[in-house]
């Protein structure tokens, strides 16, 4: 992992990956959207509203995976003092917050015709809302920390502590059986009929590739800004 500690080496690798991830992601999301909107059958009970599933599931996954990325990068920052770890954690925050928000909004839109309500203080919905607020707090904290090492460490500790919410979100449907349905996709299989389920992995992979492309773009942006700042400081000093 320390092979990529050199920002110039990282940027050389990230440049082609950004383009490839973005291009493949867009193609896969387009395929999944066509499949989800036109090629899959409506649900016998929910009708066509079930089509929201093909964007709601990937956004829920990325809302949680984004914080997983923050937690992993924060761990690398605190334990190995990896020079790119804080940059990686900061780069995950905004896209993670966007997908957590998309998950909440699409879930609310799905809930209105299905449950008869836009919002309910259910375990899954509330823990996801908490995750969104954690993202906002992390973004503010990391922004305030800037390049100061002490502030970056506080942001990293917050990133690790916030990860406690991830298992709470995952197990919320088992711990508090209220409104949100239980787990329908697990590691061993799915309770969704295969005629309806096939666009889900395509959508998850497609949105994940777009997410990775955005994270790489944001990392490169932060590194370029740091480079400009360092150069300006040297020019002012000389």
């Amino acid at each position: 992992m320390h092979r990529f500690a050199n920002p110039a080496r990282f940027v050389r690798l990230a440049r082609p990956l950004t383009a490839w991830f973005g291009a493949f992601g867009i193609v896969l999301v387009a395929i999944a959207a066509v499949g989800g909107l036109a090629l899959t059958p409506p649900d016998y009970l929910q009708g066509d509203t079930v089509r929201i599933m093909y964007i709601h599931i990937p956004s829920a996954w990325l809302g949680m995976a984004g914080w997983g990325g923050i937690a992993a990068a924060s761990f690398a920052q605190l334990v190995w003092r990896h020079p790119l770890a804080h940059v990686a954690a900061r780069a995950c925050a905004v896209p993670g917050a966007v997908y957590a928000a998309i998950c909440l909004i699409t879930g609310s839109i799905w809930g209105r015709p299905t449950w008869g309500t836009w919002w309910e203080w259910d375990g899954r919905l509330t823990s996801m809302l908490v995750l969104f607020f954690l993202y906002l707090a992390y973004i503010a904290l990391a922004q305030a920390a800037g390049r100061e090492e002490g502030g970056q460490r506080i942001a990293a500790i917050f990133g690790l502590v916030g990860a406690i919410n991830l298992p709470i979100i995952h197990f919320s449907v088992l711990w508090w059986r209220t409104l949100h349905q239980g787990e329908s996709i697990g590691l061993t299989g799915s309770t969704i009929d295969s005629r309806m389920a096939w666009p889900i992995p395509i959508a998850v992979i497609g949105f994940s590739l777009i997410f990775l492309s955005v994270v790489l773009m944001r990392m490169r942006t932060l590194l370029a800004e740091a480079k400009v700042e360092a150069r300006m400081r040297r020019m002012t000093a000389s």
Binding site: V29, T49, I52, R218
Partner: protein
């Protein structure tokens, strides 16, 4: 319930928000990257000359 409410306005709104937000996130990140790398390259050239 689908007989009571037409599902499609909900489906279209959800897809519009998800795909629109994804496109905005991707586009804004790309613009910020171009701007930052152009500025860094310009300073590099200035430093070399």
């Amino acid at each position: 319930m689908s007989a009571v409410l037409n599902a499609w306005p909900f489906v279209i709104a959800a897809y519009g928000i998800a795909l629109g937000a994804t496109a905005a996130l991707f586009g804004l990140s790309l613009v910020a990257l171009r701007r930052a790398e152009t500025r860094a390259d310009a300073l590099d050239r200035k430093g070399k000359s």
